[in-house]
């Protein structure tokens, strides 16, 4: 008789941690766009704080993804999708990290640049917009791994005997 595996497996921590930065970074993007039109503190501060939280979250998701990679790769029929997912996730994380650096330079005058902070603000907006697009693609690849290849999922037995007490 099959036995139901423990839920708290190593590969579970990636889906648990990945949705937080996706939601937060998309919201940060929306706040950023609104702050370009309406210069209220709630949009400006909100977008920065959400961007910061989301970027930290995306690096945590990369860490948990790396843990899951060693387990699920051996069971996938097309691990090249996982490799693309991983590579694009790193690009995505670096884009948002670059945006945070630009925003921090503009907000706190960290570097004595002659270019105006308004230009840095536009550059970070462009980076965040690109980051959201890449984030969508990374999410699509992740969903492909789960829904087409069953990555990290448990396949119940035909008679579901492991669910009978």
């Amino acid at each position: 008789m099959e036995q139901l595996p423990d839920f708290w497996r190593t590969e579970i921590f990636h889906p648990l941690s990945v949705h937080f930065p996706i939601g937060i970074l998309i919201t940060a993007f929306l706040f950023k766009i609104i702050s370009l039109k309406y210069k209220r503190e709630v949009w400006i501060e909100g977008s920065f704080i959400l961007l910061l939280l989301g970027t930290v979250g995306i690096w945590i998701a990369i860490y948990t993804g790396d843990l899951a990679d060693g387990i699920v790769s051996r069971k996938l029929c097309d691990p090249t999708v996982l490799k693309d997912h991983e590579n694009m996730a790193y690009i995505c994380a670096w884009i948002f990290t670059s945006a945070i650096i630009l925003e921090s330079i503009a907000r706190y005058n960290l570097v004595n640049l002659r270019i105006k902070s308004i230009l840095l603000n536009w550059l970070s907006t462009i980076l965040i917009s690109c980051g959201v697009l890449v984030l969508g693609y990374v999410g699509h690849l992740g969903a492909t791994l789960v829904y087409q290849q069953g990555a990290g999922t448990y396949q119940p037995s035909a008679d579901c005997s492991e669910f009978v007490e």
Partner: protein, 103 residues
């Protein structure tokens, strides 16, 4: 302004080129190459074969790792070693059946 554009261009190029390893798939068979990278925690190696392709190989319970005809532990693998790998292609996944350390 020109410096800023240059920095952004170089930063973009860095992002697109340095953030991952490009790997390939080949048909089942035996290949010789050099170990490009060893990931001990995942029991995984990257092998660059003669035609320039890089193969990502995850060891399985069935993978036989040998050196001079003797079975050795995964920790014997190091970057730069020449190896001969016998692979089985399952879907697009490459399962290493045997890995021989050549030196």
């Amino acid at each position: 302004m020109k410096k800023l554009i240059l920095v952004l261009f170089l930063g973009g190029a860095f992002l697109l080129t340095s953030c991952g390893d490009s790997t390939s798939t080949v048909e089942s068979g035996t290949y010789q190459g050099t170990i490009d990278k060893v990931e001990a925690s995942k029991e995984e190696i990257y092998v660059k074969i003669e035609d320039g392709k890089t193969l990502e190989l995850y060891f399985t319970d069935e993978t036989e790792l040998t050196k001079n005809g003797t079975a050795v532990d995964f920790s014997a693998l190091q970057e730069g070693q020449n190896v001969e790998v016998t692979l089985e292609k399952v879907g697009k996944r490459l399962d290493p059946i045997a890995v021989k350390i050549m030196e």
